[in-house]
């Protein structure tokens, strides 16, 4: 059974490499914020959240602006309040101190570096780019369809030292 899944997963990753890059949708921010509330232990207080952007990439900047608009002055995730700040892909060392990072569209070329920095700093990365999750470079992927689909990459979560509640994991697709 797990071989079947691995083959399917490998095919999907390969497909994402071979196929033209799909147009990435904007991150569904309300759902991303709710995902944060299922981290264990539950976050509380003011929680800094990074928005990882690629300077000069229009899609990335637009996504970052959309995330900031959606969050306004701060969004509540359970007992925590998210405060966002942009972190450019050129300064990923500054991810230190964050617990969560929203990885914007248009950063695919830098996802390897983002994953490495996130793992070093134990940052949970959340994105709308499913390929990033399939490739174990992002921890959480949020689909853009009418039906909410959330994917969690176990390896990426382990690397980021992230743990979610079991009820949450039973409702999402874990790979």
């Amino acid at each position: 059974m797990s071989h079947v899944r691995e083959l399917i997963g490998a095919a999907m990753v390969a497909g994402s490499v071979v196929a033209p890059l799909p147009l990435q949708a904007e991150l569904n921010v309300p759902i991303a914020v709710r995902v944060v509330s299922f981290l264990q232990p539950p976050p509380s207080g003011v929680m800094p959240a990074a928005i990882v952007v690629a300077p000069g990439n229009a899609a990335s900047l637009a996504d970052a602006a959309a995330i900031e608009r959606a969050l306004g002055g701060g969004a509540t995730a359970g007992k925590a309040t998210l405060r966002t700040k942009r972190v450019p892909v050129t300064a990923l060392d500054s991810l230190t101190g964050y617990r969560v990072a929203f990885v914007t569209a248009g950063t695919r070329e830098d996802q390897g570096a983002i994953a490495a920095a996130a793992a070093r700093s134990s940052v949970v990365t959340i994105t709308s780019d499913d390929a990033c999750v399939q490739a174990a470079r992002c921890v959480v992927g949020i689909g853009s369809g009418a039906r909410v689909q959330i994917t969690v990459n176990r390896a990426a979560a382990r690397a980021a030292n992230a743990r979610f509640g079991s009820a949450f994991l039973m409702l999402v697709k874990e790979i």
Binding site: I31, R34, P41, G78, V148, R154, M170, L171
Partner: protein
Amino acid sequence: MTALMLRRALALGAALAPIVAAAPATAQAVDYSALEAMIGEPVTTSVIGKPQRASEVAASVTIITADQIARSPARDLPGLLKGYAGVDVNRWTAGQSDVAVRGGVQTYNARLLVLVDGRQVYLDHYGLTDWNLLGVQLEEIQQIELVRGPAAALFGFNAASGVVNIITKRGGDSASARATAAAGDHGFSRLAGTAMLPLGGSVRARVSAGRLREDERRLPAGLLAPTPIVDVAADQVAGELSARWGTTEAVLGGGYASNEQIEYLPSQLLSNQHYRSSNVHAGLTHDTPWGGATLNGYVNWLDADYGEEGSDGVNRVSAPIENRLVAVKAAALYRLDTDDTLRVGGEYRNSRMRGPAQFARTIAYDVASLDAMLDLHPLDRVGVSAAARVDRLWLGQSGVIAQPVLDDPAAFDRAFTRLSFNAALVVRTSANGRLRLNGGRGYQLPSLVSFGFRLPLAVPTPVPIVITGSPRIRPVAVWSGELGYTHALGATRLEATAFYTRTNDAIASPGDGLEPHLDLFLTPAPVLAARFAAVGDYATYGTEWQASGRVAALDWRVNYTWTATDGDLAGTTLPIPYALAPRATTPRHKANAALGYDGGRWYASALARYTSATRQFAFSTLQQLRLYRVDDAVAFDARAGYRLSSAFELFVAGENLSLGDGAAGSPIPADRRVRGGLRVTL
């Protein structure tokens, strides 16, 4: 508790201890509200014990959300349930309702398991549900889950035809309160409220209370009825403390409720009842990387005065009953893989009934259970689940035995074992379509009443007649299967289901024309015994068609249920020996259409219901059990509300505005009930 029972309890406790310690439990601490908000649809654990999207479960499940409850014209839980497919809601009197799943309509329906946050709230001495004695207010309900079809492999005895699982709201980090004050015609008044209070750290408290008054419906001439007839009075208060440490949560709570109302007994005699119930409950949940563990325990006490003030129809006798239920449950949910889960659990129950109208002063049973559920996903689009549960019951009696003795006391020293199981297959046929096939076998446990009740009829007869239970009566086996298909078209959801349910050895209360069924005891003074008995088998089958959706500020749902019933029971020609005739009492056709609008300040909702004609049991003033025709009916319910602010709302609501006599499904015609009130949310 006798020494024997005590020894059994200790032995069972010792047997369960390793399970509790090593393998933990059922559902973990599930924040239904947060999960629903995240995935955009309700979440349930009622089908296989693990959280699932409502659209992906391998069973017929209806979930009524807090928002739907708040905008519904219904004034109580049966009123909420009546608008959905596959259920029959009979409002026998103003206060007494029965909910039957997929046929088998009867009073004191003992085939539906009703839970509040996992705690049994049906009354264990008969297995009936008094919906005015649940101890929970509509204002504190997060969602109501209705599982159609046996779920005994997960929940045990009496989830034989379905489960109603009521999930209450969890408090947030700030104080909140909801309250409703309403008044209407027919003497209706209701005050209810709930408050959630953070007490510092991760400790929270919740309190709730309610008071309901309502006049009884007008009884038609020709029906046997007690004098006087009591009106509905229900009062409830409950409280709960919860605390969370990391991934562990503990809950401790209790409550008290009382209810007085007139009811149809299983014999179909109308009788004034007064119930008083109380409970204490505690639970511990622990979330781990491999899944979750739960340990729960509760004690329910009931004092029931049947035939209050000698009002039990013509009998003019009272039958007080005390019932105490002790239950301890432990379970663990293991994630075997990213998609696959295993759930194991154990349960111990002791239920004890005491009163003068019994074979002996105390009739009791102990039940020990073990269950397991496996949920596998061998392919991305295929899910398979299988569950099994073994229940072993020990029956017993103690104390003074009523004279003359109609059964060998040793007949109560009895034990039996039953295996329940469910299996299901779900196949995702396309991006939007799901096919499910499931089935199983569950059991309805004979109630303590049907085992050991005993009440002499006060009606003068040449030889005295005693209504009595039977210690030899067997559990009722319920087999079921269903095939269903769901399809999503954007925001529209379509569902079609075909079902088949077979009930073996259905239990019924003695009725009329008992001569062929009476046992003669030639004690020094001869006595005739009329017994609760297994009166035969029957099957129900049919289809359920449902569609629902949302367009802008409008939400809608329509459903149609066709139910056919086959089987030979005691018969419906006069004189009728037993008050059970599901073919006559279950409507063949039901259709519902609901429409809701929420425009911000204004909201409105309406429900139109069609129910085909049935015949229902009642005693005539000639003291004869008869089937009375209940006409088909179109009932129209509606509610409109205006939000003065985010905190205050005015509303007006009415049920059966179309004045359909048969809308209640009762020999007592339905009336129109209108109310208005104020709702406060802080």
